[in-house]
Amino acid sequence: MPTFVYMTRCDGCGHCVDICPSDIMHIDKTYRRAYNIEPNMCWECYSCVKACPQHAIDVRGYADFAPLGHSVRVDRDEEKGTIAWRIKFRNGTEKDFLSPITTKPWGQAIPQLAEVPGPSQEMRDSQLLYNEPKYIRMDDGGLHTLETNGLKMKKGVYY
């Protein structure tokens, strides 16, 4: 289901070009609008579809196994923190789905590590990562090690 771009909707803003992981959304020189230059490298990941402010991009199933006449439309809203899908079958059946995409205002809950207190030498010498052991266990117990867990590494054939 590679993407295609509706001629009358695209305004050539380039958001799709900016986001496509496959580098295949390019701006057509003649029409100054976007199109998929290499459909056989399109993963139908919908990154461009979600990013297009004009809803100008759609997808039609890969011709080598998907018949015509379906559609899967999406609306992703970072403000609302939701994504809405509308699936239309070849036979006309429709299904709608709505999911959250985040539980927090976008990006704000991630700390800036340059601003947190740096690690002590002891911590550097330990096996702990940032904010551990806090995150490892409910009981705030320490990191699992071979010793704490009564284990050793042994050569040979074990199953």
Partner: protein, 622 residues
Amino acid sequence: MAYKTIVEDGIDILVVGAGLGGTGAAWEARFWGQDKKIVIAEKANIDRSGAVAQGLYAINCYMGTRWGENNPEDHVRYARIDLMGLVREDLLFDMARHVDSTVHQFEEWGLPIMRNPKTGTYLREGRWQIMIHGESYKPIVAEAAKKSADKVFNRICVTHLLMDDSKENRVAGAVGFNVRTGNYHVFKSKTVICGAGGASNIFKPRSVGEGSGRTWYAPWSSASAYGLMIEAGAKMTQMENRIVLARFKDGYGPVGAYFLHLKTYTQNGLGEEYESKWFPELQKMVGKEYLDPEASHLTHRPIPTCLRNHALISEVNAGRGPIHMVTMHAFQDPHLEEVGWENFLGMTVGQAVLWAATDVDPKYENPELTTSEPYVMGSHATCSGAWCSGPEDISPPEYFWGYNRMTTIEGLFGAGDAVGGTPHAFSSGSFTEGRLAAKAACKYIDDGKAEGIVVSDEQISRRRKEIYTPLEHYKIYRNEIVAGDVNPHYINPKQGLDRLQKLMDEYCGGVTVSYMTNEKLLHIGLKKLKILEEDLQSIAAKDIHELLRAWELKHRHRAAECVTQHTLFRKETRWPGYYYRGDAMKVDDENWHVLTVSRRDPNTGEYTMEKAPCYHLVGEDE
């Protein structure tokens, strides 16, 4: 060429490829390297790059230690048996003991993790898997990486690692080009964390034409992690252990949520359970130690993924296909129906599109399953990748050379698919490995190991020349012909990819040959790979986009060669259902209960193969 050379100097930590591993590395590096210069060089846009670009509906590696669900060693045992005995248990234990901390962080950042309404714990899909609304998984971890990095260079296709000209076998950064401007980018760095991911499209896909973009692993998973590291002379491990996945037919939608949460099950074309029928024969091939259905039933020890594939493949070969996933029962429950659909909308939209296009409603019709073409990666039920040092408090001497997740090249670290021996890390484990590598890289620098690095102008200009050769080649020879892509002087990247995929398919165990290979076939494959390598010197790119494809192909080619060398080396069929060595159809623990390790000499192109011992995690008194 008019392209500029842009040098970024004085980098402490260069993250090459910011997928799940790379974002973890960049994020964590800032904590341990508060004043260090952290730079990301990424082929795409880190907001939607890598395997998780379209999201994930599950986090497949979570212990739940805080709820008493599993200990790290339980996961190691799981991964061990699933991989037929051969994994790096030090790396796995290490990943498992940290992974929960990664996941809890994700939740704090806003990733919607589903909860079990009764217990309040994360909603389990299976013993190791938890369910998420993960459409924005990648944008969220990218946000974290951006918070930590000094600079993010998007759209840089990294083509080569830079090597220290003053000290043998020490990394010194990386080079590449910007796939939009065409500019040459030089990153001089004390350490490099390679998170450039796994490989699709090395073997001929089942899909054809337009549909060949519909791979399970993303089409942009270009084997760059392997290509970069092998080229630089890093040792690799278990590269033969390519993975074949049971997937919904054509759309390649994952089956985990279906098997584990929806409790759907498979049947053959006659509506029969078939899996267990193949177990007796399989047991003869692999031994009771690796397949003991009764014990599995009692202890919830899994039937290894490859062996489940084997049953599916054998049943189809026997003429009793197609295999169906029985969804019609589960989908009567509206909650499960919703999960079934959202599972795909969240990570493989194409499967939903396909069902819509073919009027398949799994509530009324059981969809078909198939086995995919092989993929090469290191974080699902497979563990190809670089041979890395483990952590000092766990690793035996053969597995330890100073810095966690450091490859056999000094200062070069890996994370995620790049690291060998650590299957079942998945997204969360890959991010965790990135964090571990970042801490170790900071330590490496702080220990003074990166002093005195020299990168000669010769090295920089040699790579520059090499990078643009395909564009030059096109310019020179294009006008010798009237038009079209048939030229006696060059092939284009798509033509080269077709050649690579076809030969890997036919000689190294792809779908067309039902995953069968043998010594003779592998030797022919190597010969053809060598000739292809010569032709890749004559590859032509008509524009920068094709230049990107040319370099992806070169990375894929190198990885494919390494896969073939390893497959030739291991004279047994360790993972029936992933591939078969027709000339050695059994598991042979006496000779092959070892990890395979290869090194390609960057000067001669010759491979050296060795066996490394397999250490297991056992009870203190065992």
